[in-house]
């Protein structure tokens, strides 16, 4: 029963959503160049399935790589901000300012800086757009660590490194995973921004762009759905990691 509920409820929700989508297109009698309906999609997938596999993989690995870099860099920045008040005061305005810059405007800047380095540019953008939540959450997690938690080890003469590994890091993990869930979706936006704004024939974004140029609207919608599926897959991969490393933070429901 529990299992049925776990997989059945989301499945029913998706089916209801598709029916709703199909319904409004049908009621309004929209042609597929205004809005494609779910029933248009299988044909698009059938025709371009090879491209979907190749380009979906390109989007996926570049997003994941950007995310991995964001985790490493974000954690390091977060640690620096968490442990040093001066670093926090100095870095916050910079980070917030940087985060406030619309990333679409950075695409041409990056494209000019590293001409022809498509993979590098895409990974860089996925990284740039997604490290901020991680840095902030790790920084806040560490700086709001209750002094008693530190004192139980500090009173025994434990080093700062020991306290970090045994107390601060595990205690910050729930916040870290919360931020990572936000970053996953952001990283996809970063990858696709480069793939759409500055297309270079790689990734689902480029496929979307080619659908647009060729007036193949069902293909464009099929790409959007494929992106959504990739996003969901990656999101639940993070949820699985969270269960393993921070499952303790989940209280049993009563």
């Amino acid at each position: 029963m529990n299992r049925l509920q776990k997989f059945g409820v989301p499945l029913v929700a998706v089916i209801l959503f598709l029916l709703f989508w199909e319904g409004i297109v049908w009621i309004n009698d929209w042609p597929n160049y205004v809005m494609a309906s779910p029933s248009d999609l299988p044909a698009a997938y059938e025709r371009f399935w090879k491209l979907f596999l190749v380009m979906g993989w390109q989007t996926l690995w570049r997003t994941v790589l950007g995310l991995v870099l964001a985790v490493i860099f974000g954690t390091v920045i977060g640690m620096i901000m968490g442990f040093s008040q001066i670093a926090r005061q100095g870095l916050y305005p910079l980070l917030v300012g940087f985060n406030a810059v619309p990333k679409a405007t950075l695409v041409p800047v990056i494209a000019l800086l590293f001409i022809g380095q498509h993979d590098f540019n895409t990974v860089l953008m996925a990284f740039l757009i997604s490290f901020f939540p991680i840095a902030v959450s790790v920084g806040i997690g560490l700086s709001t660590l209750e002094p008693e938690y530190r004192d139980i080890l500090r009173a025994l003469g434990a080093s700062k490194v020991t306290i970090f590994w045994k107390i601060a890091l595990p205690k910050t993990l729930p916040e870290f995973f919360g931020a990572l869930k936000v970053s996953v979706t952001l990283a996809f936006i970063g990858t696709n921004l480069v793939e759409i704004v500055s297309p270079h024939g790689r990734g689902l974004g480029a496929l979307f762009k080619s659908g647009e140029t060729n007036g193949d609207y069902p293909l464009m919608f099929a790409v959007l759905i494929a992106l959504a599926v990739l996003g969901i897959v990656l999101y639940y991969a993070v949820v699985a990691l969270e269960k393993i490393f921070a499952g303790w933070a989940e209280r049993p429901a009563n």
């Binding site: 008693e148 004192d151 595990p170």
Partner: protein, 260 residues
């Protein structure tokens, strides 16, 4: 008798944006080896600062803190600490929480030996069978028991407690007082207890030190002249009532000075 803890003329102030806030003023305090020293005083009088000084987590502006005939300038492994908040780590089981200090103090101790030590202590405080529970699965009183086990698992010479029973209900608190006495009977250690509860100070203490209002001095020291193996009934005897009365008066004096 040799004094294990000696605090000599300690003065300390916190720097705040309104200038220095003096909390301790030429405080003297001696605790002989094996004795239980309860410290009471009006709230905000610097009692917690005192625990941090003895633990070596802070250095006083003036004066000296001596432990074992050595001046304290940094934390040492022979101290155990317990706070009002049990601060158990939610990602570890109760057993692993109790083991934690051993990982720092005795990194080479075999795992089986560590676990045996933790099991032994948990059994003593009545937490048999809860070793593999998460802290959030235990009641407040049980968590505080586990916290006490963790504070003494590495056999410290001194146990410093900052209102460890403050957040518990009265009956649980009295149970824990009893547990505390049993623990000390089994493995003697010197104790400094910060508390707001005068009954607690008389029941557990060998001496009760009353601190004055901020900045705190040792205003009064009461030697608790009660039998060593006490039960909670002792608090209802005239002798204890008399002591509680004296302490209450002293607290009133301490508060008066603070008001002025």
């Amino acid at each position: 008798m040799q004094n294990l803890i000696e605090i000599k003329g300690v003065t300390h102030a916190y720097r705040t944006k309104n200038g220095p806030l003096p909390v301790l003023d030429r405080l003297d305090l001696c605790v002989p080896k094996g004795e239980f020293c309860a410290v009471v005083g009006p709230s905000g009088c610097g009692k917690s600062t005192l625990t941090r000084l003895i633990a070596g987590l802070m250095k006083p502006d003036q004066g000296e803190v001596w432990l074992h005939g050595e001046q304290i300038t940094s934390p040492r492994k022979t101290v155990g600490m317990a706070f009002q908040n049990p601060v158990l780590l939610e990602w570890r089981s109760i057993l692993e929480n109790v083991i934690l200090p051993l990982e720092i103090v005795a990194p080479k101790m075999p795992r089986a030996e560590r676990e045996a030590r933790a099991h032994h202590l948990l059994a003593m405080v009545g937490l048999d069978g809860f070793e593999h529970k998460r802290p959030s699965e235990l009641s407040g009183g049980m968590r505080q028991r586990a916290s006490l086990c963790r504070a003494i698992v590495h056999k410290p010479d001194v146990l410093i407690m900052d209102e460890p029973f403050g957040a518990l209900d009265n009956f649980t608190r009295e149970d824990l007082w009893q547990t505390m006495r049993e623990l000390r009977a089994a493995e003697p250690f010197t104790c400094v207890l910060i508390t707001h509860d005068l009954r607690e100070s008389v029941f557990l203490g060998d001496q009760v030190v009353v601190l004055s209002g901020r900045p705190a001095k040792a205003q009064f020291v009461l030697n608790v002249d009660l039998p060593a193996d006490r039960t909670i009934d002792v608090l209802y005897e005239p002798k204890a009532s008399e002591m509680l009365h004296i302490l209450r008066d002293q607290i009133r004096i301490a508060q008066g000075r603070e008001a002025h």
